[in-house]
Every structure is written in C-alpha cells, then in structure tokens.
Amino acid sequence: MAQNTATQQQEHAEGLAARESELRHAAGARGSILGSMKAKRIIGGIPVRIFVIVILAIWTLPTMGLLVSSFRTQTAIQQSGWWVGLFNFTNFEQWTLANYDRVLTADGMAGAFFNSILITLPATVIPITMAAFAAYAVSWMKFPGRQFLFVMIVGLLIVPLQMALIPVLRVYTANNISGTFVGMWLAHTGFGLPLATYIMYGYISGIPKSILESAYADGATPWMLFTRLILPLSVPAIASFAIFQFLWVWNDLLVALVFFGTRRPIVTTRLAELVGSRGQSWHVLTSGAFVTMIVPLIIFFSMQRYFVRGMMAGSVKG
C-alpha cells in the first residue's frame, strides 16, 4: 500500500512535470507541492477516520458486550451495563464462569453442541463427495444430456429452500425420518448440492486436459483418476466449499426447526428457544449465544483467507 502511494505520487509528479518545473525551481525541490497535497489528504482524512472508527465501534461493541456479559454474574448484569463492569475491571466479584456451567448443563447447551457437531460433519462431507463425483462426470465424461444436467444444477442453485420444505417433511414424517440425524444429513446434502457441484465443476473442469489424458493412457481407470488426481488437485475448491457448508449447516435454523424439531436441540434451535422462554435472563442468553458462536469464530480466526473465499463462493446459494 505504502509502496503504491509512493509510486502513484511519483507518477503524478512525472505527469505534471512540465507544469511544475517553475514551482520546483522556486521551492528548491518537488517535495513542497507533494508535501502540501499530503497535508491536505491528512486533514481531509480526519472525517474519514472518525467515520471508520464509528463504524468499527458499531461492528465490534455489540459482540464485545455479549462476550463481557457472559462472564458477569446475573446480578451484576442487571445492575449495571457491561461497559461499567469493564471500567471497574478490578471488581472481581462480578466475574464468574457460572453462566457457562449453567447454560451447558441445566439449559442443555452441551447436548445441543454435541448434536450440532454430529449433524454438521457428515452434512459437509456427503455433499462434497457427491458433488466432486458429479462434477468430474459432468466435466470429463461423455454422456447424453450433459449440458442439460449442468444447466439444471445451475438453475437449482437459487431455488429457495422454502419450496422444498413441505413435501420433504411429509415424506420424512411418513417414514419416521423426521428428527433423525440421517434425515438432517440428507436434507442438507440435497440443499447444498447445487452450490457444491457448481463450485467443484468450476474447479475440476479447469484441470488441464493433458494431465488426465496421459494418466488415462497409462491405464488408469476413471476411479483412479478421480481419487489420485482430481481430488488432490481440487483441494482449494473443496476447502472453500467445506468452510461455507460447515458454517451454513452450523448456523442454520430453518432446516433444523422443520426436520429435526426441538425435542433434540442443536445450538441454533436451543438458543432460539432460550430467547423465547428466558428472554430477560441475559446471563443465560449471553453465554448461550457465545457457545453457539465459538466454533464459527475459531474457523474465522484460524483460516481467514479460506473463510472469506468460502463465503464469497457461497453467496449465490438459494
């Protein structure tokens, strides 16, 4: 960035060289005109900085308030704002871990967390696998209806989830699949597949033909091509989609409410229920909300680049 500005200024100076020559003589160096521009920029930059700071405050303080409050006792939360607690940091009476103990055990968040993991892992792996096989077939195998299929998948990409809920729930209920883990995996697989296939196709179809052809000439079967070449080569696409789908399933409320119910909760359905039944018990809500956020936040901070890529790739999902 700093380099950019420097070259930019240099180019600018060169571009204006003719007009500036007199001024340069007067000032002794080209520093003066650039210097005055810089000063102008910094002065003009003050409102910009204030604006950015205000925005940053709005974007971070609410989450911080939640985090701070989750470690304060019920009475402390009710008697003063979390910022007061933060200013009187040394008043150790207000700090506690009891909220987490309570929300994890008595309020069932630990079980919900466990169920969330059990749903999310297979609901990420299954669609990636299916999509990778399908994308390989669509990109590199010849069969009738190939183009139609791909267009159909792209079309399904933006069909709203709401279109699928009622009929699928009826089938689920009739077959006792409603409320099961398998039912959740399959539902998330179905709903995630168009995006997964789309992302995997974009990547797999771009693998150089020569690599595949030479392997094929060496007698590799399609299965070997797929497992030893295609999959290892598509790791970046897999990572992007995996992060997106993992977070999508982890953060999902709608699919869980409809197909899993609240008798066995996951983190989002449990938290939503707590808001309904304990709307003013902020010691429970803040710690509960933080339990639901911890996994996504770890992913965010540990794999930021893939996280951003994944979210961008997933923005087209229906």
Binding site: V52, V151, T180, V182, G276, V308
Partner: protein, 367 residues
C-alpha cells in the same frame, strides 16, 4: 516391498470372477452397514450411549458415502471397457441426481401443486388471493418490500464507503478494519439476533439501562425506549441487524473492485480538476457499477429468504412480520400447508429473473 506384492495381488484381484465377487460383497456390506446403522440411529439415538451414537453416525455418514461410490464403481468396472464408460458417468452422477431430484426438483413441483389446495380440498387461487388481498398480509408484504429495498441498499453503500475509505489506510490497519467488519459473517442469524437484542434491551425508567442503545439515549437525558415494540421503527432496527451481518460481504467484493479501477483514470480526473469526492462519483462508481449491482442483488435475494432474525426477535409480532417468516408460520405452526406453499411459490417467482440470468450467463461461459 509393494513392488513385489502388488502386481501379484492386482493380478489375482483382476480376474473377472474375483472382481464380481468383490464388488458384490462390498455392495452387500455397504447396504447392510448403511441400512443397519440408519435403523439403529433412527430408533436408538435418544437412548443409546452418546459415544456409540456419535461413532455410528460419523461412520455411516462419512464412511458410508465413500463405501457407496466404491461398491457402485466396483460393479461398473466388471463390465467391458466400452460398456463401463457408458455406465460409469451415471454411477458417478447417480447419488447426486437422486438427491437433487428428491430434495429440490420433486418438492418444488409438489409445492406448486399443493398451493392450489387447503386441507385436502382444491381451492383454486384462493391461497394466492389471500397473499395479495387479506389485511393480515398487507403489513407482511410492505415489510418485505422494505427489507429487500433497504437492507441491500444500505449494506452495499456502507460496504462501498468502507472499501474506498480503508483503501487509503496502511496495509495493516486496512486488514484489521476489514476483518473486524467481516467478522459478523461467521455469526449465525440467531446469534446476531441475541447480540442485538441485548443492545436494544429495555428497562423501565429509573432502573439502570443495560442495553447499549438505551444507555446512550438516557445519557442524553431522554426516556428509555422499548425499541423492539415501537412500530414502525422496530422494523428498521431489525433490518439493521441484517445490514450488520451483510456489510462485510459487500465490502470485501467492492474493495477488490475499487482496487481494480485503473490508476490512470483517477489520475486523469484529478488533473482535470476533480476532487476526491467528484472522481469517486464520476470515475470509480461508473467503473464498478456492474459489481455494485451484483452485490446488491445477491444481498437482496438472501434477505428475501431469511426468516431467522424476525423469528428470534419478535416472532413477527408488533408489525414486523415478513413473507419468509409467515411462510414458516403458516406451514409449520398453523398447519396451513396450502397457504405455506403459496408463499413459498411467491418467494420462488420473485427469484426467477435471477435464475434465468444465471442460466443464460452460464450457457455462454461453459459450453
């Protein structure tokens, strides 16, 4: 070591009867394990020890899908090569096609069909008439229009503004600012709703205000406000939660676009006497107009379908309901499947232009 054992093993496994046996055995094992695990999980998940449930679940969930492809592929490889090459695409595509068919294609058609019925009786267009003519739906439709207009506009503008402003910061501070603004993308809609419920929290006058917004309001001497129930402004406060969640997305994409504006264009504008504001509006914005439009529509279609925020904050009461939430309530709380289906179809019809556009641009690009 593998040099000596592998060829002989492969030779032995390559004989046709061995291959047929192997693939049939693996098929049977897959079916038995998947089916058995499925039934076990379905019937015992509530009572069995958690570790066993977890292991069964992960094995059949993660391993099962690979076993399925492996055994199907084994069967296909028994065939002579030309036949194999005809069958194999369908083996690889099969599971995906079945899933897409069962979870998206068939239900969509079925939902369309169901939208003409209520409680088992054919009612013609009554469910659609309900959407557009009942007084109950009027607020819902107005709110939905406000959501899909305001949230994308505000989120995109803010994202653009932040992208342009941080563009002049040093690399480190630009990175920090951007990642803090992008951070809410990791948070679930439910989690974000709880975060903001706490900001909007209300205590009667006289009690200490623990919500940030009311603390600010009372600091300036005004009375605290029960934000979530004051119509119609509560809608704006709910929408802001969505803006808070989506601005980071707009910012990241628009930031890349802003950095792509050719420097000499901006330079030329400056030489012609345009100040920064002017060159932003007459050079940068026209140059990245396409990206701005894409970002805006992407957020628009997301906002249209999301019901979580309103569900958690107000359950649609106090005049805050929107179509996506009403669809959930009609279908799964009131059990009016016909109305629920009609509302789903409504959401679908609104996104059809995007669908057509997507398919068109895809056709041009890939085939």
């Amino acid at each position: 070591m593998s040099d000596i054992t592998k060829p002989t093993l492969r030779e032995r496994l390559d004989s046709v009867p061995a291959r047929i046996t192997l693939s049939i055995v693996s098929m049977v094992v897959t079916v038995v394990v998947l089916g058995g695990g499925f039934v076990y999980l379905r019937d015992n998940a509530a009572t069995a020890p958690r570790v066993i449930v977890a292991l069964t679940a992960l094995t059949i969930g993660v391993g099962g899908i690979w076993a399925l492809y492996f055994s199907l592929n084994g069967l296909a490889e028994v065939l002579p090569e030309t036949a194999r090459d005809k069958v194999l695409p369908w083996v690889f595509l099969g599971p995906a096609l079945v899933s897409l068919g069962f979870f998206l294609v068939w239900p969509s058609l079925n939902t369309l069909w169901l939208s003409f019925f209520e409680r088992g009786e054919y009612v013609g267009l009554a469910n659609y008439i309900f959407i557009f003519q009942s007084s109950a739906m009027r607020t819902v439709l107005v709110n939905t229009v406000l959501w899909v207009v305001l949230v994308p506009t505000v989120a995109t503008s803010l994202g653009l503004l932040i992208a342009v402003m941080t563009d002049r910061f040093s690399t480190t501070s630009e990175k920090v600012v951007k990642s803090l603004i992008f951070l809410p993308m990791a948070i679930s809609f439910v989690g974000a709703s709880v975060i903001w419920r706490f900001v909007y929290a209300y205590q009667p006058p006289g009690l200490p205000q623990i919500g940030l917004l009311n603390a600010i309001v009372t600091f300036f001497g005004a009375d605290p406000v029960a934000w979530i129930i004051i119509r119609p402004w509560n809608n704006l406060l709910l929408m802001f939660i969505m803006v808070w969640l989506q601005t980071g997305f707009a910012m990241v994409i628009l930031s890349a676009a802003v950095k792509g504006v050719p420097k000499d264009l901006l330079e030329a504008a400056r030489i012609d006497g345009a100040n920064e504001v002017r060159s932003f509006f007459s050079v940068t914005i026209p140059y990245i107009a396409g990206t701005i439009l894409t970002v805006g529509t992407t957020i628009l279609f997301l906002v249209l379908k999301i019901f979580d925020v309103v569900y958690v904050m107000t359950s649609g009461q106090h005049g805050t309901n929107i179509v996506a939430l009403r669809m959930y309530q009609e279908a799964f709380q009131f059990r009016n499947f016909g109305r629920g289906s009609a509302l789903a179809v409504f959401l679908f019809v609104v996104v059809i232009p995007l669908l057509i556009q997507n398919v068109r641009s895809m056709r041009e690009k890939s085939f």
